[in-house]
Amino acid sequence: MDDLLREFLTESGEHLDTVDAELVRFEQDPNNETILRNIFRLVHTIKGTCGFLGLPRLEALAHAAETLMGRFRDGLPATSASVTLILLTLDRLKAILADLEATGTEPSGSDDDLISALERMSEGPHEPVAAAPPPEPVLPDPVVRELKPGEVSLEDLEAAFMSAPGPDESDFLAPPPPVAPAPTPAPAAPAAVAPAAPKAEVKIEAKIEAKAEPVEAEKPEPARVEKVEGAEGEATAAAKNQTIRVNVDTLEHLMTMVSELVLTRNQLLEIARRHEDSSYKVPLQRLSHVTAELQEGVMKTRMQPIGNAWQKLPRVVRDLSAELGKQIDLVMVGNETELDRQVLEVIKDPLTHMVRNSADHGLESTAERVAAGKPARGTIRLAAYHEGGTITIEIADDGKGLNLAAIRKKAAERGLASQADIERMTDAQVAKFIFHAGFSTAAAVTSVSGRGVGMDVVKTNIETIGGLIDIATTAGRGTTFTIKIPLTLAIVAALIVRAGEHRFALPQVAVLELVRVDAGAQRVEHINGAPVLRLRERLLPIVSLTGLLGQSSPGAETDQAGFVVVAQVGRERFGILVDEVFHTEEIVVKPMSVKLRHIPMFAGNTILGDGAVVLIVDPNGVARQVAQGVQGSGGHIDSDADEAVEMADTKTTLLVFKGGQGSFKAVPLSLVTRLEEIECAKVEWLGGRALIQYRGRLMPLVPADAAITIKSEGTQALVVFSDGERAMGLVVDEIVDIVEERLDIEIAADRSDLIGSAVLRGRATDIINIAHFLPLAYDDWARGLKRPEQISTILLVDDSAFFRDMLSPVLKAAGYQVITAASADAALAALQSDPQIEVVVTDLEMPGRSGFDLVAAMRRAEPRLAGLPVIGLTGAIGADAVERARSLAISDLVAKFDRSGLISALAEIGAATVSKAA
């Protein structure tokens, strides 16, 4: 293939992509002469070159398309059908070009179908819809056709064209025609249309509104670069003349050489450090600077605007819009944001896929949107911007949001996590299930998506380049995917660590923190041989790097001192145990040899400043290995979380904070909804009470101690408690820690705001009584549930004084009389002696006679006791516990900390008693 042909292929490919995007724009904005002129010119160029190179098939097609576009120029309204036809022609052109590229010759075949259709369309009278065979039966965009009466503007357009010499380069370089006539059509159009097509009025206005922004944005010259819609204006064309084409291989080679230079520089610096009085210092410094600048410059040559990856999207969205019958606006922001072309290649397809997904799954149908009171046109917004050393790309739609309930259900069905886990997960965690292979909640499989392939591939692709993907979704408001990717893959910051005898580099993007472990307080523990670390009261699965790399038997070294590198890949957090951590270094990533590329543990290798070769550990590979390894030894990462919960059964997890005069206070963590840090400026005062707007509601703030005053500036720490829709912020001085301890409370009865005090981590700590604070926030909190008439006295059985003291005020506040018993025996005695007791609330797990034994004894006793309703409190509601409870006619099982669950269970029993009595 000769150079000329190759050049032609590259150029035509780019031209066609541009024409694709421009046509979609033109369809929406048929009065824009600039766009039309541009399209016309590009197609004309292709046609001319084809003729020159002797490519008859391409030439004939391009000619037919050009003729039809010429008719647009002469005033033929651009209908959806005709634009679609031209787009189809462009697709054919691309297919022929691809063949040409592969074989070097134009493939044989006939394009008579398209050519005749194009000719029919261009010869046809001004009734294009009747004349043309519409390829898609439903074209949901009647607006363009409706604009027909606005022919005044088309005449303007024509006049402007007639004054221009012709569709060649010289024309293009001519000074742009006065901008003044261009904006006129836009306001004129609705006025002209309104009487003609009253039915379409609403749609048109919506469209004009939606389009107003880009049209206006085009008027000032510099703004054009910002939008794809305005990207191919004269401004960029002029800029094109300042660029040259460079072979990618040349750039790659340059990059390699610069990387070598960086390494050599690093080595020199290392040497200079050892020789104190070196006279090389100054020139070396200069060399260092020049190298850094050179590196930056060469990196820049590899940079391409992300707009290149987006170029195809307007077309994709247009086609989808027709296919799905939805009206979709695509807004693209920051398409000049540059990133490494290697990265660009990797994210191109995922981006397209996600936009397709947003259009198909994310956005509702027009009817649904209107019914929901949203604008009929859905919007997909793509935004890209730099953030530190990474690029953030957002893909947002204003659709219905993810159906989290459906995802939860599906995740449980597919056994991705246990039901209990899924219920505990936050919405963000649940949303991430869509990244599992084969996961789809689409009710119907469409040709666009819903087959459950894709999102997992998207995630994999992004993770292979060290990127992260996140989802934020709000029901009814839309979904936003956020992708964070490194600027370049060639040079990364890495942590240099030692494992066994060798050093390794760990890419810093995956590293969250470092924890020093030894045989003392922070030590690695084992569950069935699997090493774990307690980190802020969460269990972190640990892998030893040496074990992972087969250098020592797993678990053998985990007792020794070392460092745990806490890493996160996607949803998985894990710790990598290493022996030593040295420093961080900007390393030049060199690819692994083909002979070693199959090892999943390594992402590449590099040469350090001291000349040694080190391997770069791939966190993704490690993450996969962690999951497998833990599975192999009898459990999954998620089930480790279960064990953490079970361990909490014997110990209680408490949130410790400073509240008032430096004293330590604590509250059971399970009662806490969230910890917040708020801006003091956001605190509002209403009727002497402090409030803050929190998640769209007003939340009262209550100081945890009389000595605490809400700060007036800076930030204020809050412990948020919520109950149903109500939330309260407990104002504390400082959140100190979360501790897991066996509670031994000494009761301090003189203060209602405290349950008592306990020794936590060697400090005397007050355990606060939340039941005291809730009514302070809402007068009616406790009275929220109407006191049930039928039940008035409850026997609360729990061996733990802490729970008795915590629950009694809650129950009392809810309007019940409470009698407490510390054991099954005491409970039976109380039941015998007090006929007032109408409901028994008992802890099921008690030392000695358990709650089950108590209930069994009651059931065997006299009829009054045998018939008493019982509510069981349990730490973990397992299947066997449910079974056993059912056999003993226990009315309800409530999780131990579920205060509101208990109250509603009591209310239910009350209601049941009423209905029985009636």
Binding site: H502, L549, G550, K595, L596, G611, V613
Partner: protein, 172 residues
Amino acid sequence: MQAANANTSGAPTNGVETGATDDFVTVYVGETLFGLAIERVHDVFVPSGVTPVPLAPAEIVGLLNLRGRVVTAMSLRRRLGLPDAEAEADGTKASPKMAIGLEQAGETFALVVDGVGEVLKLGADSREAVPINLDPRFRDLATCVHRLDGRLLVILDVDALLGFTPAGAKAA
């Protein structure tokens, strides 16, 4: 013809040539002499600072820094299915190991051998086909054998040598 192709001490003389000759770099592993086509040999160096690659195929010794390039080092012994030299109590070969820099598909490899001999210029007259009773591992990697004075030189096929798949050895 083939005047002074002495294997050990003779200079690489060419003597009186009758036909085209090929140059070979000779290397030895244990007692066996091997020849590598000189066009394929880029470097001869002493490997140092080899970073082992865990989980790598047995043939791979590790990675090393050769003038700023990362080079994959491969043991000829292991490639031929021979035990490592360290295991041998061979006092005569006490000198440090040598490595031959080879290139394939744009990637540089270092072939670690016990030692490097001289460059020999050999003609077709001393060439023999690979004996069929050779160990298959040798047979797969050898192109021919040259008869030298008192010993034999096995010519290795560099592409076959480097052409093993990560899963294991592959037939040439």
